[in-house]
């Protein structure tokens, strides 16, 4: 989490001196364990958000492609599919944890929207897995594939909110 990252982005941070307690800056509050250190170099926080987004998006799109191929091959929902969904869910959970850690203290708009999107993204694949697995046709796994596309769309919106509305930097 503390990796040194792009110098390009650090220009934005120069305005906010570390630990000076700028209004709305979550980092200022001590006693919230573990958060002071990573926010010392806030640039890495942006990096984490970015990488997590790319990982979730890659997992969602790869799963969708895989499941649609299995739809074409008329496969029923099986154990391997469940593992795929679990991996996607784990990444989404990491996304939610990151949001819980960073968003409530940050400035900006659209926080409720962000959380509703992340939580929806968490629920949709699980619901689709149950809903799809009771189908004996090819469209059982096709439904789960479609759910993965929904996740990708939702994450696109989440990413837009991270970029333009919620100001994690403070």
């Amino acid at each position: 989490m503390c990796e040194v990252s792009h110098a390009v982005k650090s220009s934005r941070g120069a305005a906010v001196p570390n630990g000076s307690g700028a209004p709305g800056q979550a980092a200022a509050s001590p006693g919230r364990g573990g958060r002071a250190a990573p926010l010392g170099g806030w640039v890495s926080v942006v990096g984490v958000i970015e990488w997590l987004y790319l990982a979730v998006q890659a997992a969602a799109l790869a799963s969708a492609a895989w499941f649609f191929v299995d739809t074409a091959r008329s496969k029923e929902v099986g154990r391997a599919h469940v593992v795929g969904v679990v991996v996607l869910e784990a990444l989404l959970l990491a996304q939610l944890v990151t949001a819980i850690a960073l968003v409530p203290g940050a400035a900006g708009e659209g926080k409720a929207m962000l959380f509703s999107y992340v939580v929806t993204a968490l629920l949709v694949p699980v619901a689709a897995l149950f809903w799809g697995s009771i189908d004996r046709s090819r469209w059982g796994i096709g439904t789960v594939a479609c759910a993965c596309l929904v996740v990708a769309a939702l994450m696109l919106r989440v990413h837009q909110i991270w970029e333009y509305q919620v100001d994690v930097v403070g």
Partner: protein, 141 residues
Amino acid sequence: MSSGEAAPSGRSLAEGFGRLVVLVYVVFALSAGVRAGFQVATKFDEAPISYSLSAIAALIYLVAAVAIVRGAAGAALAAVGVELVGVVGVGALSHVVLDWFPEASVWSHFGSGYGFVPLVLPVVGLVYLLRRRRDRGVSSP
């Protein structure tokens, strides 16, 4: 859409490809519904027409989903038909009467805010429902 491949007449509307259709309708009903509810509750005055239309769209998605799950083919067809008319009508209207849509609605600009899925969805739904009706008509009285 695998209507050719063993579409047993006893199969319910929500099985096979219908399962995918239901998932998408439920997702849209929930997301549009929650969003519209939030907008109506907090800032209705900013764009009353947009937000009302979003709420109506959400309701129609819900009706379509429930009708398909319960096997009510007529109601499902009606809901999806209204949905198609709605998205085309509202989409056209939003290009003509800009003042009515200061904020986006689900169906404004033919659902461009939702990747045009709102425009594609009723077409897919209609094709599916009409095929099922045709298959049913052939195999059972």
